[in-house]
């Protein structure tokens, strides 16, 4: 049945943004919330969009306009989306910024235009915010803390002196940096030995190759910390190919493909940051402010949960 969708492919416009306009049929007087996400090709943001749509439909007190983009780094599309929302005079903008600095100027314009702006997912650079003279609250998870939780599970399994490697996300990406710091925290606190740390750009195939080569160079590796589950999947396949059942793996994100691996014990742990609820939570906070609550400030941390074979059941 999904194949039938394929037949409509030729009719698909090659749009550079992926507009997902929803709720246009709602009454005009409801507050309008503009949600700007990163790539909807990423399951994380796909879930976030669905969570927000479900939330909007359930509450029925606001109109949701959501925009995604084509790739993780498509900064310009996001800036355009923010500017379009300013033109449309929406009441709230909730944004998962593609870049922690580049989005500050357009968001300041939005705030100056009286729009309630809430930053989710990745925090905008505090220094750049100060420089621009803008105060924006951040609603999101502590990636560093999550990575530490994941790393600690591995450390508990390996014990003092365990030799580990890290697979990092995209160099320079804020969540990649935070997760690397969290892994480093765990390694330092638990007396593990870091043998090597490399990026596999969040990708399964690259993680498979890069980790295989790391393992060749360091056959005595005992544990792997992958900054996301897609890379952990590549590591698991590499371990299967090398017949190494002794090496433990932890990941991050709790994507659906990782769950059977956790059941089977191929992956020790992952972390869920409840992306599906993140946008909905931020929207609630912003609507409260519109209704007269005090303005949002600082970092409003969202939930994190460690997922292991024990917690899954």
């Amino acid at each position: 049945m999904r194949l039938s969708k394929l037949l409509t492919v030729s009719a698909l416009a090659v749009s550079l943004a992926v507009p997902a306009m929803t709720g246009a049929a709602f009454a005009q007087d409801k507050p309008v919330v503009g949600l700007v996400m990163k790539s909807l090709a990423n399951e994380f943001f796909k879930n976030m969009l669905e969570g927000a749509e479900a939330h909007a439909a359930e509450k029925g007190t606001y109109e949701l306009r959501a925009v995604g983009m084509q790739s993780e780094t498509d900064i310009e599309t996001q800036i355009n989306a923010v500017e379009n929302f300013i033109t449309q005079q929406v009441d709230v903008i909730v944004i998962a910024p593609a870049d922690s600095r580049a989005l500050i100027a357009p968001l300041k314009r939005a705030a100056d235009a009286g729009i309630e702006v809430v930053n989710i997912d990745v925090e905008l650079d505090p220094q750049a915010k100060t420089d621009a003279g803008v105060e924006l609250a951040f609603v999101g998870p502590d990636n560093r803390e999550g990575a530490r939780m994941s790393g600690d599970t591995l450390a508990a399994e390996l014990g003092q002196g365990g030799k580990v490697v890290i697979l990092e996300g995209n160099p320079g990406a804020d969540n990649a940096i935070q997760r690397k710091l969290g892994f480093d925290d765990s390694i330092a606190a638990n007396g593990l030995e870091l043998v090597d740390s490399r990026t596999a750009h969040w990708e399964t195939e690259e993680a498979n190759s890069v980790f295989t080569n790391m393992l060749t160079a360091n056959p005595d590796i005992q544990g792997v910390m992958a900054a996301n589950d897609s890379m952990a999947l590549g590591v698991v396949k590499a371990l299967e190919a090398a017949n190494r059942t002794d090496i433990k793996v932890v990941g991050f994100d709790n994507i659906s493909a990782i769950r059977p691996m956790i059941q089977e014990g191929k992956v020790l742990a992952t972390v869920d940051q409840f992306g599906s609820q993140m946008a909905a939570q931020a929207i609630d906070k912003a609507l409260e402010v519109l209704a007269g609550a005090p303005p949002l400030e600082g970092w409003i941390k969202t939930d994190l949960a460690l997922i292991t074979a024990d917690t899954q059941n």
């Binding site: 999904r2 194949l3 969708k5 394929l6 409509t8 492919v9 030729s10 698909l12 090659v14 550079l16 790539s39 909807l40 090709a41 990423n42 399951e43 796909k46 084509q70 790739s71 160099p171 090597d196 490399r198 990026t199 990708e203 399964t204 195939e205 498979n208 190759s209 890069v210 295989t212 080569n213 790391m214 060749t216 160079a217 056959p219 897609s230 999947l233 590549g234 396949k237 299967e240 190919a241 090398a242 994507i255 659906s256 493909a257 059977p260």
Partner: protein, 330 residues
């Protein structure tokens, strides 16, 4: 590269001889790399590591072989990474259709994957040849269309359950040689035969050298062009199934940037971006140079950023060397 007094005057050299001269240069470069890594790292020249390298070059090699056909006629295919994702998710969806036995599921999935690749490649060819558009633009469009289609087919979800026998194929080795690499090698050999031993192949070279002359000779240039893009698409379909077998996932976001690696393999392999010169054996060597570099530099413990810079440098170096080789061999 090796000019000896006994060689006949340049004008009389056959394309075969020219290709051998080109490829021996690339082969020497590859051997040098192998030598350096063998001497500087402990694990490079072990059976297990050679097996790893063969696995790691496989997909890039398959994509590169397909793109070689397109580059030989003076075109380019930027869509292969996205088309790979589309083929993988369509194949993965077919494999999970209810009520299929393992053999049927894998057969239908492979056919579906290759069919999707062929369809995308054929569209690339038809559109660029019919309207005389630069394939750079047409395949850039296809890059977006295929990615969007892959996301539509899966609703942006990853497919991750496949028959164990199919996954076993992805990691099985035969005397240390991965089965998936043997598939790639077979494609190289068949392509080499087609390009050098058949009229079809010679006409593709002819189109790259002088399209008008081929047209005046009465050959349907249009259909030869379509065929070159179609072959590239079919290769992507095969590569996609190998990806799924190897990594056990079919996701609409896989394969981003694969086209650039595959084009790099073709260019390092001495195939001219202007068309008409080059060979799949060069692409084989080019894919190995990229794979050996990626593997050896990690074994050496070089940082990611250094690794990236060195790989970029090698691509530029290959083109510079090619300039000199061109002068020597014509």
């Amino acid at each position: 590269m090796i000019e000896t007094p006994t060689t006949p005057p340049p004008a009389s050299r056959s394309p075969m001889v020219k290709n051998i001269i080109r490829e021996s240069g690339i082969a020497i470069a590859l051997l040098l790399l192998v030598l350096v890594f063998s001497l500087t790292t402990e694990h490079f020249l072990t059976t297990a590591n050679v097996t790893n390298i063969l696995t790691q070059v496989t997909i890039n090699l398959i994509l590169g072989v397909g793109i070689t056909f397109v580059i030989l006629i003076g075109g380019i295919d930027l869509s292969v990474g996205s088309v790979l994702a589309l083929c993988a998710v369509v194949g993965g969806t077919v494999m999970n259709l209810p009520g299929l036995g393992v053999i049927e599921a894998v057969t239908f999935a492979t056919l579906a994957s290759v069919a999707v690749g062929i369809a995308c490649g054929m569209l690339n060819g038809l559109i660029s040849a019919y309207w005389g558009l630069p394939s750079f633009i047409v395949t850039l469009g296809m890059l977006n269309i295929a990615r969007g289609a892959a996301l539509t087919v899966t609703d942006a979800r990853t497919i991750y359950s496949f028959p164990p026998a199919f996954n076993a194929f992805g990691s099985q080795t035969f005397f240390g040689v991965p089965l998936v690499f043997l598939v790639a090698l077979l494609l190289v050999l068949v392509s080499w035969f087609v390009l050098t031993r058949t009229v079809f192949g010679r006409i593709l070279y002819g189109i790259g050298n002088n399209e008008e002359a081929v047209r005046l000779a009465g050959h349907p240039v249009f259909w030869y062009k379509v065929a070159a893009f179609t072959i590239a698409g079919a290769a992507v379909g095969v590569g996609a199934m190998i990806y799924v077998a190897r990594l056990n996932i079919a996701s609409p976001i896989i394969g981003v940037g694969f086209e650039l690696n595959a084009i790099a393999a073709v260019i390092i392999g001495g195939t001219s971006l202007n068309g008409g010169r080059g060979s799949v054996l060069g692409t084989l060597l080019g894919a190995f140079i990229i794979g050996v570099l990626a593997n050896g530099l990690v074994l050496l413990g070089l940082s990611d950023f250094m690794r990236q810079m060195i790989t970029g440098g090698v691509i530029i170096l290959a083109v510079i060397v090619d300039k000199y080789r061109e002068r020597l061999s014509t």
